[in-house]
C-alpha cells in the first residue's frame, strides 16, 4: 500500500509542477518582444485593425485575466486554437506527439544497447587496451552534441554512402493505412513490414544522433558502477563457486550496478527529449519539436503553451517511471 501512497504523492507533485510550468510559459511568451498580431497583419495595417485582432484573440486583457480564461479552458480539455494553423491546439499536439515519442524511444533503445554493450565489454576487459579504447570513444561521443552528430551522420549516411533517408518521417509516396499516429508501432502490428522498413530508414539517423551522447553517458557510468561492484565480497564469493568472469558480471554485478545508472538515464532521457526539438528540425522529422520551432517563429502563443505543457508532462512522466522501476529493481526499497 506504500506503493500506492508513493504513486498518489507523485501525481500530486506532478500537478503542482505542471501548474508552475504553465504560469511561467504563459507569462514569458507574453512578455518577450514580438507578438502574433504583427505577424498576421500586412504592412500598413492601422492601429484600429491591430486593436480589433487583439480583442478577437483576447490579447487586450491583462495577463492574469488571460491566464484564468486559458486555464479554465485547459481544465475542460480546451487548449485554445492555434493562431497560425487555425486548428485546436490539443489535436495538433496529439497528432505530432506519437512521432516524437517514437523517435525518443528509438533513441533511448539505441543508447541503452550501445552504452550497455560498451560498459560490459570494458568491464570484461578492464585494465586492458580494450577498456582504454572504449573510454576514448565514450569521451569523443560525449563531447560532440546531438545536432552535430546529426550533421555528421547526414554527411556519412546521406551523402557519402546514401543508405538512410535524411528527411521526413516516412516516404511521401507511401499510402499509410493507419488509424493512429504511432506509425512504427502500427506498421509492425499490421504486419506491414515494407512500411516498417521505410520508417526505420527515416528514423535511424535522427535517433542515432540523439542516442550517441546518451550512450556514452550510460557506458561511462555503468562501467564505473560495474567495476566497483566487481570488487565486492559477494562477487568474490561467486567466483569461488566456479563462475567465469562473464557470468559473474551478468549474474552478480549487473543488477546491482544498474541502479545508479538508471537514475541518471532518467534525467538524461529528459535532455534527450529536449534534443528532439533541434534534431527533428535538422531531419525535417514531423514531430512535436519541429512544430514547436514553427510555433515560436510565428509567435503562436496557444500552440507554444500547449507544446510546452506536453513536454512538461513527458518529463514528469519519465521521472515517475524511473522512480517506479528503481523500486522494482531494488528489493530493499520494495517494502520500505
Amino acid at each position: 500500500m506504500l506503493f500506492l501512497q508513493r504513486l498518489l504523492w507523485r501525481l500530486a507533485t506532478t500537478a503542482v509542477t505542471l501548474f508552475g510550468v504553465a504560469v511561467i510559459v504563459f507569462t514569458v511568451v507574453r512578455v518577450v518582444p514580438g507578438n502574433p498580431i504583427a505577424m498576421m497583419l500586412p504592412p500598413g495595417a492601422t492601429d484600429a485593425d491591430v486593436a480589433r485582432l487583439k480583442a478577437l484573440y483576447g490579447l487586450d486583457r491583462s495577463i492574469p485575466r488571460q491566464f484564468l480564461i486559458w486555464g479554465w479552458g485547459v481544465l475542460h480539455g480546451d487548449f485554445g486554437t492555434s493562431i497560425s494553423l487555425r486548428q485546436p491546439v490539443l489535436g495538433l499536439v496529439l497528432g505530432r506527439l506519437p512521432a516524437t515519442l517514437e523517435l525518443a524511444s528509438m533513441a533511448l533503445l539505441m543508447a541503452v544497447l550501445m552504452g550497455g554493450a560498451a560498459a560490459l565489454t570494458a568491464t570484461r576487459h578492464r585494465g586492458t587496451r580494450v577498456e582504454a579504447g572504449i573510454d576514448v570513444t565514450n569521451g569523443v561521443a560525449l563531447s560532440i552534441p546531438d545536432f552535430l552528430w546529426g550533421l555528421l551522420l547526414i554527411i556519412i549516411f546521406g551523402v557519402l554512402m546514401p543508405v538512410f533517408d535524411i528527411s521526413g518521417r516516412v516516404s511521401p509516396d507511401l499510402k499509410l493505412p493507419f488509424t493512429t499516429q504511432f506509425y512504427l508501432v502500427e506498421s509492425v502490428l499490421r504486419l506491414r513490414f515494407d512500411i516498417t522498413a521505410d520508417l526505420l530508414g527515416h528514423i535511424f539517423m535522427p535517433a542515432l544522433a540523439l542516442a550517441i551522447p546518451l550512450a556514452a553517458i550510460i557506458g561511462q557510468v555503468l562501467k564505473q558502477s560495474l567495476k566497483e561492484t566487481m570488487e565486492l565480497d559477494y562477487v568474490t564469493l561467486a567466483r569461488t563457486k566456479g563462475y567465469g568472469e562473464t557470468r559473474v558480471i551478468l549474474r552478480e554485478a549487473l543488477r546491482n550496478a544498474i541502479l545508479p545508472t538508471l537514475t541518471l538515464v532518467g534525467v538524461q532521457f529528459t535532455f534527450l527529449i529536449g534534443g528532439t526539438v533541434i534534431v527533428e528540425r535538422l531531419f525535417s522529422y514531423e514531430g512535436l519539436g519541429n512544430m514547436a520551432i514553427d510555433a515560436v517563429i510565428n509567435r503562436d502563443l496557444p500552440l507554444i503553451q500547449g507544446i510546452v505543457l506536453c513536454f512538461a508532462l513527458i518529463f514528469t512522466g519519465v521521472n515517475l517511471v524511473v522512480d517506479l522501476t528503481y523500486a522494482a529493481l531494488n528489493p530493499r526499497l520494495r517494502h520500505a
Partner: protein
C-alpha cells in the same frame, strides 16, 4: 598418504613488487582442521585467496604449486580450475553483511553452484538447500529461502553462508575469519556451528584467524604465519604446551588470559620481531637476486 591440499613453496607477490607470501608450504589432510594464525598483514588470508583463485588483481602467484587432490590448480586451464574449485572447495567469508548479493533471494544463492556448476536438477538442489538450512539451525527454512539478505540478521546470514559453503559437499572449506565481523554473543554460536558441521560432513577446514582462543577450540593442527612465511607447523596440543619458534612463543604470551584479568598485556618483544625481520630481509634479498 597424499594430502587433500598440498601447497608447496607458494610465493605470491604484488605485481612487480615485493613478495607477500614467501615459499609457503602447507598441507591439509582429508577431514583435518588446520588453523592458520598470524597477525594482520602476515598473509594468512592471501593463502586462502590464492587457493580459491580470488587473489586481488594487483597480486600474482610467482612461484610454487597448489595441489588439490594431487592436481596443481595453477597448471590447470582457467575454466577447469574454476570448476574444480567450485566442486571441491568452498569459502566461508569474513563479513556476512557484504557476502550475500542484495539483489537475489537467499535460496538461489545456496543452490546456484549446484544447479549451474554441478548441473543438479533444480528441485533436488532446493531440497538440499532446505536440509542444509535446517542443519545450520535456521527456523522456518522455507521462508528464509524466499527472503532477501537485508531481511536477515548478521548471524542468520552467516548461517546461510555456512549452509551455502557445505552445499556441494566440498572436500575443503576455507573459513576466512568467519566470526570477526559478528557480535560477540553470536561468535560463539557460529564457531560451535562450524565445528559441528565440519564433524558431521568430515570436511577438511582451513581456519584462518588471528585468535588463538578460537584455534584451541576448533583446530587439531596449526600453521603460524609471520611476514608471509610459515614459521611453525605443529599440532595444537604441542603448540600450547611448548611452542617451537620464538615468534610463536611470543604470540602465545601476548594472548590475554581470563585467569589473570589484572595482568597487563604483553606485546611481542622487540628482539623477537627484529630477529624474524632480519631473517625475512635476508631471504627476500636472496629471492630478488634469484629473480634477476
Amino acid at each position: 598418504m597424499s594430502a587433500l591440499l598440498d601447497i608447496r613453496n607458494l610465493s605470491v607477490a604484488l605485481k612487480g613488487g615485493p613478495r607477500l607470501l614467501r615459499s609457503v608450504s602447507l598441507a591439509v589432510a582429508a577431514g583435518e582442521v588446520r588453523g592458520l594464525v598470524g597477525e594482520s598483514g602476515a598473509g594468512k588470508s592471501m593463502i586462502g585467496k590464492a587457493l580459491l583463485g580470488i587473489l586481488p588483481r594487483s597480486v600474482e602467484v610467482v612461484d610454487g604449486q597448489i595441489l588439490l587432490d594431487g592436481d596443481d590448480l595453477l597448471r590447470l586451464p582457467p575454466a577447469e580450475r574454476r570448476r574444480r574449485i567450485g566442486q571441491r572447495a568452498a569459502l566461508i567469508p569474513q563479513d556476512p553483511l557484504t557476502a550475500l548479493n542484495p539483489a537475489h533471494r537467499v535460496g538461489p544463492q545456496i543452490t546456484d553452484r549446484l544447479v549451474d556448476i554441478l548441473r543438479w536438477p533444480r528441485a533436488r538442489a532446493e531440497a538440499r538447500a532446505l536440509d542444509l538450512l535446517a542443519e545450520v539451525h535456521i527456523p522456518d527454512p522455507g521462508r528464509v529461502m524466499k527472503s532477501y539478505p537485508h531481511e536477515l540478521s548478521g548471524g542468520m546470514r552467516q548461517r546461510v553462508l555456512i549452509a551455502s559453503a557445505f552445499a556441494a559437499e566440498p572436500a575443503l572449506i576455507v573459513a576466512d575469519e568467519p566470526t570477526t565481523a559478528l557480535d560477540v554473543t553470536v561468535q560463539k554460536q557460529i564457531l560451535r556451528l562450524i565445528a559441528e558441521m565440519q564433524a558431521r560432513h568430515h570436511t577438511a577446514l582451513l581456519f584462518v584467524t588471528h585468535d588463538l582462543g578460537v584455534v584451541s577450540k576448533v583446530c587439531q593442527n596449526l600453521s603460524v604465519l609471520y611476514a608471509g612465511k610459515v614459521v611453525e607447523d605443529t599440532t595444537v596440543r604441542d603448540f600450547f604446551r611448548a611452542p617451537g619458534h620464538p615468534y610463536s612463543a611470543a604470540l602465545l604470551a601476548a594472548t590475554p588470559k581470563y585467569t589473570d584479568p589484572d595482568g597487563s598485556l604483553t606485546p611481542v618483544p622487540e628482539a623477537v620481531i627484529a630477529a624474524v625481520r632480519a631473517e625475512v630481509e635476508a631471504a627476500e634479498t636472496e629471492w630478488q637476486h634469484g629473480r634477476r
